[in-house]
């Protein structure tokens, strides 16, 4: 059942030319240089320190590494992160995971 809905969504995204983040449950990330990062569609904070922010996604995790990281604001689905961002990494757990 879940596989069917996912395939339907992918199809709709291709046919109707909709943005991927609307159709698929993936985060949308806006970065301003390496200073600010705005992440939408996250599912909660797993770990936060000065050097790393680990966010839970619908399927997988997202790791933002950097220095002097500060969460300027946080809402149920949005995070505004500031600091010197070094890199972004995705950990996929696969469709069956979690």
């Amino acid at each position: 059942m879940k596989r069917w809905s996912r395939r339907l969504r992918q199809l709709a995204g291709g046919v109707l030319d909709l943005p991927q983040d609307v159709v698929l449950e993936v985060p949308r990330i806006t970065m301003i240089g390496h200073l600010q990062m705005y992440i939408e569609n996250h599912r909660g904070v797993l770990h936060f320190s000065e050097k790393e922010l680990r966010l839970l996604l619908t399927n997988g995790q997202m790791i933002v590494s950097g220095e002097q990281l500060v969460i300027r604001a946080i809402l149920p689905e949005e995070v505004l992160l500031e600091g010197r961002i070094g890199g972004v990494k995705f950990l996929e757990t696969g469709p069956q995971g979690s």
Binding site: H47, R72, A73, L75
Partner: protein, 404 residues
């Protein structure tokens, strides 16, 4: 996403949270709709974040649940300001009193200014204004409507056409427009009209008084023309004689005119010099030459920007020099005679007075000598010869006798 003003009005605090499960606390708080911002790690198990005061009380059960402990670091925002202000009530009362005092003082008149007076003494206007209540120290609330005040002030000062009352803050401006009253002729005492110089009477028109001479009569200087004493021997009155007496006066004028006349004429050549004005000094900028022409007429034009009474110290000056050259002309004796006649006429009319005219003129003598023409001309001029002579030691006429 964040609203700085609301955060400030509601009041917010900075807390440090000590505990292992800080991320869990964060997720739960966010899910409950608690606003948290500026989150940062301080130590291994210590984090610092900002939170609204009312959200802090909602956070407490979550802290207990996750086994974290919080400590308030800093308080900021309007509620804390008010608390601090209550502690220093003297300051608050002082500030309030200051504003009340400022407002109270602004309801008084502090100065009265008069403008537009020409003949009336400004002090009189100020005194009249003080009579109807407009004075220094008056309470503005007690003053009447400006239109009423204006009427009252104008009735106190009848020689004004209009008085504008303008209240700008604590200053009252009174703008006075004075009436332009016609100047009354000065009352004159009893007098005769006598002859100014030796003449033949041309025309006599007495208005007040008795005519003593007739047309074509020769009068000497000082002879009474219109007498100020009217009536017969038994009943006499002295009046201020008035009237017009025209007499024919003879003049002989001797004029000389040189035959060689020099005058200056523009050649059409011109040059401009530019100057920069710095305060009282003019600095010549272009061109640097001092003298262009041997003979020149110069005119200057200044541009100094000024606004509202302030004049810029910098300005610009342009001097235009127009070259002139002398032209000499040799006149014939006839031309010189005509010129001499013209000069003589002007001279005579200036001597004879305002409404004089030349009745007859005759060239008596013309000689040409040493490059000059000497002309002697006889003029017969009709002019006003009457002059007032006051009567002294006589009973004064009643005032209405001035206008019979």
């Amino acid at each position: 996403m964040r609203n700085g003003l609301r955060e400030w009005v509601d009041g917010h605090i900075t807390i440090t949270v000590r505990g292992k499960r800080f991320e869990r606390l964060l997720n739960m708080a966010v899910r409950d709709g608690i606003r948290i911002w500026n989150i940062r790690r301080v130590g291994l198990e210590v984090s610092r974040c900002d939170i609204l005061i009312r959200d802090y009380f909602r956070l407490r059960p979550l802290l207990k649940e996750t086994g974290c402990r919080s400590h308030v670091e800093r308080r900021d925002g309007l509620p804390f300001w008010l608390l601090r202000l209550r502690r220093r009530s003297g300051l608050a009362i002082g500030a309030a009193l200051f504003f009340i005092g400022l407002y109270m003082l602004s309801t008084f008149v502090w100065s009265v200014e008069v403008s537009g007076t020409k003949m009336i003494d400004p002090q009189r206007v100020i005194r009249a204004a003080a009579q109807i209540g407009i004075k220094e120290g008056a309470w503005k609330v007690k003053l009447k409507e400006p239109l009423l005040l204006q009427k009252e002030l104008m009735s106190l000062l009848p020689e004004t056409t209009w008085i504008g009352i303008e209240m700008s803050g604590t200053k009252v401006k009174l703008q006075v427009v004075e009436k332009d009253e016609p100047t009354l002729p000065l009352p004159t005492g009893p007098r005769h009209l006598v002859a100014k110089k030796r003449a033949v009477i041309h025309k006599i028109l007495p208005e007040v008084g008795r005519s003593q001479v007739t047309n074509n009569q020769v009068v000497e200087k000082g002879q009474v023309l219109i007498s100020g004493i009217i009536g017969n021997e038994t009943r006499q009155q002295a009046v201020s004689a008035r009237g017009k007496v025209q007499g024919e006066v003879w003049y002989v004028s001797n004029t000389s005119v040189p035959l060689n006349q020099t005058h200056y004429q523009l050649t059409g050549e011109k040059l401009q010099q530019q100057y920069l004005l710095v305060g009282p000094y003019a600095v010549q900028l272009w061109p640097f030459k001092k003298q262009f022409f041997a003979l020149a007429e110069s005119s200057e034009e200044r541009f100094v920007p000024s606004y509202a009474g302030f004049t810029s110290p910098l300005g610009w000056k342009t001097v235009t020099q127009l070259e002139t050259e002398p032209i000499s002309k040799q006149m014939t004796v006839e031309e010189a005679t005509e010129l001499a006649k013209k000069f003589a006429r002007e001279d005579i009319l200036q001597k004879a007075g305002a409404d004089a005219f030349i009745q007859d003129e005759k060239v008596l003598h013309v000689t040409s000598e040493n490059g000059k023409v000497y002309v002697s001309i006889h003029f017969s001029v009709i002019e006003d010869i009457a002059v007032e002579q006051p009567l002294v030691g006589l009973p004064q006429a009643p005032a209405n006798n001035g206008n019979p």
